[in-house]
Subunit: 218 residues, 2 copies
DNA sequence: TATTATTCGTGAATTAATTCTCTATTGGAG
DNA sequence: CTCCAATAGAGAATTAATTCACGAATAATA
């Protein structure tokens, strides 16, 4: 119910693609030309058929007995994830997490180009962090309208997240990457993705809890 | 194939639980005593039956016409996620991301107690960051053996991730929260959870790509 | 007190995702 | 040149997850 939009690819598959890319990038560095599903599945502890189905989503065609071209596969996966085009982004909230994201060069490989950062704390405004200028958040909406900005990254606290999202919507930003633990309310044509670190912690600790009880039962 | 272990709860459900917790924590602040699945489902744009099934995993029992006790539900979800006990953790790699994690107080609410941090860069060693001492990584294994450390957090680059994981395994750490884009090889009784930020970016950009093509077709 | 609307809980039905099975292709070994 | 082993690809079967449908409980209201 109420799934705003139906996107074509199965999410579980989509979530596995970046891991394939990590393996492939390493293989490219090692000058390997071809790779098989079996190889990838061994690297990542997945079922080879699952890998094959996932890769098929990208439209790649492999050669029997040989596998897929590493280079072509990288390109196809990147295209599928939308990482083959540059996207301009604004980041709001230059705190601990915001600063870390600004310093992460790998995002450029994925087409994410953070052009300017914003905060409301006067101590941060005017600084340049990892080459990115920090301006007052009041200037964000107008700047977004003037330049074309595709993605807004929210790394403010949860209290401020909705108001920042509103400013982004006013600036015609169509994709929001939200790190605050808060459900954002936005128009239908804006896509929100919540990056929830705590989910990952929960998966870890709940598995640890289960393996403890297993031990107790023995 | 080769799923190392089968854990009882469906992962999709487990991944939704932290979001329920966010809503519930807010309701607790607002002094609400009871909450229904319908309410939660509206907040998070989910199906109410799905919410009900997820919550049932925690063993909570609701009252018809009223819903669930907010306080009890919080406790049950925390217990289910393994967030009701304190776990001692070491963090290795006090760079951009490592520093951000050290400064994130919310993790304490989830039972994560980062007791010491480690690096190999002499400029970082000896500092205290957000109240956590930074020591040389060589001391990590012995300290882990001496104190009981449950979780190891890896925030070094991908090149160093495996060697750090090896040190953690030697220190009898049984859960590894890995932020490096690298598949770690560990013994069967060690649980690894990969926190992959790029996955979330991929979900966002691929959805943006699809909604663009939709527009072009109109 | 009787009625009504809301919500939980559960089993069935549906849909999605994964895994299995089989065929065809192809490069390399004999 | 022939055979073999590895692999892609596609459809079927299975398993997992989600959604639907309905009965029972209960607080609020008439
Ligand atoms: N630090 C982490 O490891 C971590 C992990 C998971 C989630 N998060 C989430 O990420 C967000 C940021 O976390 P953090 O640790 O970096 O917090 P932080 O307090 O270090 O940074 C928040 C920054 O946002 C700025 N800010 C606040 N309100 C603003 C507004 N209205 N407009 C512009 N700027 C504003 C503050 O000045 C500050 O610089 C939080 O929502 C947090 O829950 C952080
Ligand atoms: N910064 C981000 O936003 C971000 C996002 C996603 C993933 N990651 C991943 O997290 C990891 C850390 O990223 P970062 O941006 O903080 O990098 P960083 O370079 O800022 O920090 C890495 C730290 O690890 C230390 N280190 C390196 N080798 C070590 C070793 N063998 N033992 C102990 N310490 C060692 C370095 O001295 C440095 O302090 C990387 O694997 C990166 O891919 C980072």
């Amino acid at each position: 119910m109420r799934k705003i939009r139906k996107f074509s690819a199965p999410e579980p598959s989509m979530r596995r693609l970046p891991a394939y890319l990590h393996v492939l990038t390493r293989l490219l560095r090692e000058n390997r030309l071809y790779v098989s599903c079996t190889f990838i599945s061994n690297e990542l502890y997945l079922d080879p058929t699952q890998v094959r189905k996932d890769l098929a989503l990208t439209g790649i065609v492999g050669k029997p007995r040989v596998g897929y071209s590493v280079e072509e596969l990288i390109d196809k996966i990147k295209a599928f994830l939308g990482w083959d085009v540059q996207r301009n982004a604004f980041l709001v909230g230059v705190g601990n997490l915001g600063t870390a994201l600004l310093g992460y060069q790998r995002f450029r490989l994925y087409g994410l180009n953070i052009v300017t950062a914003f905060d409301k704390d006067p101590r941060r405004i005017g600084k340049t962090i990892f080459g990115v200028d920090v301006l007052h958040v009041d200037k964000m909406t107008n700047l977004a309208l003037r330049n074309k900005i595709d993605i807004g990254i929210i790394t403010v606290g949860e209290d401020a997240a909705q108001e920042v999202a509103d400013l982004m919507v006013q600036g015609f930003i169509k994709g929001i990457w939200n790190f605050a633990p808060k459900t954002l309310i936005v128009p239908d044509d804006v896509i929100v993705e919540n990056a929830q670190l705590s989910v990952s912690l929960g998966v870890l600790t709940s598995k640890m809890k289960l393996s403890q009880t297993e031990k107790n039962m023995v």
